[in-house]
Symmetry: C2
């Protein structure tokens, strides 16, 4: 099935990256099937993710001109001839990367390292903050929308819930099964990924989770989800943890911030033989030496979540905890307000927000229940 001739001349609205603090709603050509494995989707909801702020803030400088966003729920409009698992009319959720689904890495649960893995909403591939989008490798990238989960929650499954699950799972599986429930975990960072990681850690039975941040509102939610909050501004992280662990430090640290400072704190406080799992985008040198690592008997893990590989497994946990996620997405905006949405998100005026490219004209606020 290919788009009709009329669609090739249509345009659509899209949020385009031009440079730091320079993003614009523009008219763009309606996306076309380019490969037999492509699908074209009509965006129902496109999320704004913390990592969209890297180019927005100028901390990365990608080649401009691309459509932003890598989290979406959508409806399939047309599919290429080789697409087998979705058809026009299907409601779907896209994971934040493309992948082939059948290579060495895809077979081993590491879809984020598939040769054909590209992140949506980058200079390499237009994203979802638009009315429509092209989805390459649709069979492995689009998942049929599961029953009974409202879009406002389901969007978390595009990236940040599987990412948080990836972090917690890989932290836990470094310990013998009989040690897992008694673990003292430290989490560096309580943004959206961090809060979900607390929910997941508790759901997977971790007894004690300490959560570090400097934003009071985030720490309140961390506590609500079962963590013991530590405010970086007013408390001595190391002292609090030493007191709680007979002077040893936590067994494992989940680092979700992606900063060298957070990794430095993680390394300093973790106990001998402990585990640091960094799911943040680490982009500096490392704040410890080989000798430090040897002396600490440390285990370290880094890297990008393979959301396609982990989708089904993390969805099972998602279904169990979704009752906690009312109001997690706290703002819906029409796509026409996307520029204002970025400004607000940048200033932490919203925790997690989505754009509705169709059928929404006014902002809708949600409160955490």
């Amino acid at each position: 099935m290919t788009p009709t001739t009329t669609t090739t001349t249509k345009t659509m609205k899209a949020l385009v990256f031009f440079g730091a603090k320079d993003i614009r709603i523009e008219d763009r050509p309606f996306p076309q099937i380019q490969e037999p494995t492509d699908a074209i989707v009509k965006i129902t909801a496109a999320c704004l993710c913390g990592s969209d702020l890297h180019p927005y803030r100028g901390s990365t400088s990608p080649k401009p001109g691309y459509i932003m966003g890598h989290e979406s729920i959508s409806e399939v409009v047309s599919v290429g001839s080789a697409v087998k698992t979705v058809k026009p009319g299907d409601e779907v959720i896209a994971v934040f990367t493309t992948q082939c689904g059948h290579c060495f890495y895809c077979d081993r649960g590491l879809s984020s390292k598939c040769d054909q893995s590209v992140v949506f909403g980058t200079s390499a591939l237009d994203g979802f903050q638009a009315e429509y989008a092209r989805v390459p490798l649709a069979d492995a990238t689009l998942k049929l929308k599961p029953e009974g989960i409202p879009d406002l929650k389901l969007v978390l499954m595009c990236d940040i819930f599987p990412t948080a699950f990836f972090g917690v799972k890989n932290l836990l599986n470094k310990f013998e099964p009989e040690q897992r429930t008694d673990l003292v975990e430290l989490q560096m960072g309580c943004g959206p990924v961090g809060l979900l990681a607390i929910i997941i850690a508790k759901a997977l039975g971790v007894k004690t989770v300490f959560a570090v941040d400097y934003v009071t509102e985030r720490l309140k939610l961390a506590e609500k989800f079962g963590a013991i909050p530590i405010n970086l501004k007013t408390e001595d992280v190391d002292a609090v943890l030493k007191k709680a662990t007979d002077g040893r430090g936590p067994d494992g640290v989940l680092e979700v911030v992606g900063s060298k400072d957070a990794l430095d704190t993680a390394f300093k406080v973790v106990r001998y033989g402990g585990v640091i799992n960094s799911i943040g985008y680490q982009h500096s040198d490392l704040p410890f030496t080989g000798l430090d690592c040897y002396l600490k008997n440390i285990i370290l893990q880094f890297g990008r979540c393979p959301a396609a590989s982990l989708f089904d497994e993390s969805l099972e946990v998602f279904k169990k905890v979704q009752g906690l996620l009312d109001g997690f997405v706290d703002l819906e905006l029409p796509l026409s307000s996307a520029v204002e949405g970025y400004e607000l998100f940048d200033k932490q005026g919203a925790r997690k927000l989505i754009f509705r490219p169709h059928d929404l004209t006014e902002p809708v606020h949600h409160e955490h229940k």
Copy 2:
């Protein structure tokens, strides 16, 4: 039971560290019970380990005056009042560190990080290259000599066999069980620990082990034990591995050398999502950044082997592979020839050698069968 008055005035022969390339056989006081948890042992065999060469070569500079060596088989002469598991007359093997046996770390299989863990043959604790030695925390440090294993093989259980086992076990347990047998492993270094690690990896079912070194004799043994040798001097490690793995690189790397160069090679060649386990004594900065780690989805593990914790588990594997270890220790010397022994070992004139402080007057050579 305490030593008799006569023993307190006795002296014994011991190899003492004075500085780089300055070690001497000296008369030392006969060791005494100092704590109720101590034992005094008569050394039957004391091994020379690669790490003894660090101070000998001047690459570390410990405070001089201590008796060297941390690998021994011995007979218990006397024990303090609190010692329960060994008695005078017992033939025993000592692991290379002391440990309490019942703290948080000892309970979790990490005896090398026990608060009371001290390495024998350092400025902190006299070692075993002597006629007699004091063994603190004897209950957790001395193991009754298992039946049916000759001393010439059993000495490997003091340190290097458990250390090699620690490395291989921790490399394998980072992979899902169903992936373990198909692994392509790279091993950096084919000294004694490296050769044992090859034997262990093959015994645990690893299909393909590549082994890197630049010493032809070592590479020949590596091949004999089932590895595919790569000569650093004449071959391109990365190219060989890429060719064998469809361009990906090995799944895991065991780094037994403890050099920054070896770790650098390990990181460069390992595949995405791969594992590097470094059991070498890393003492430099790290040859990769946080961004490198993120992009590689790497898992890293470092640190000293908890030989006491792993003794029983590694002994089970040892019993299965001991048939391969005839001639692994290739030289026995009287303790009076210890200075010459160090010189020879330093020049790789012997693979693994032991000193016999009693009942040996001439060197005995063994050939690998």
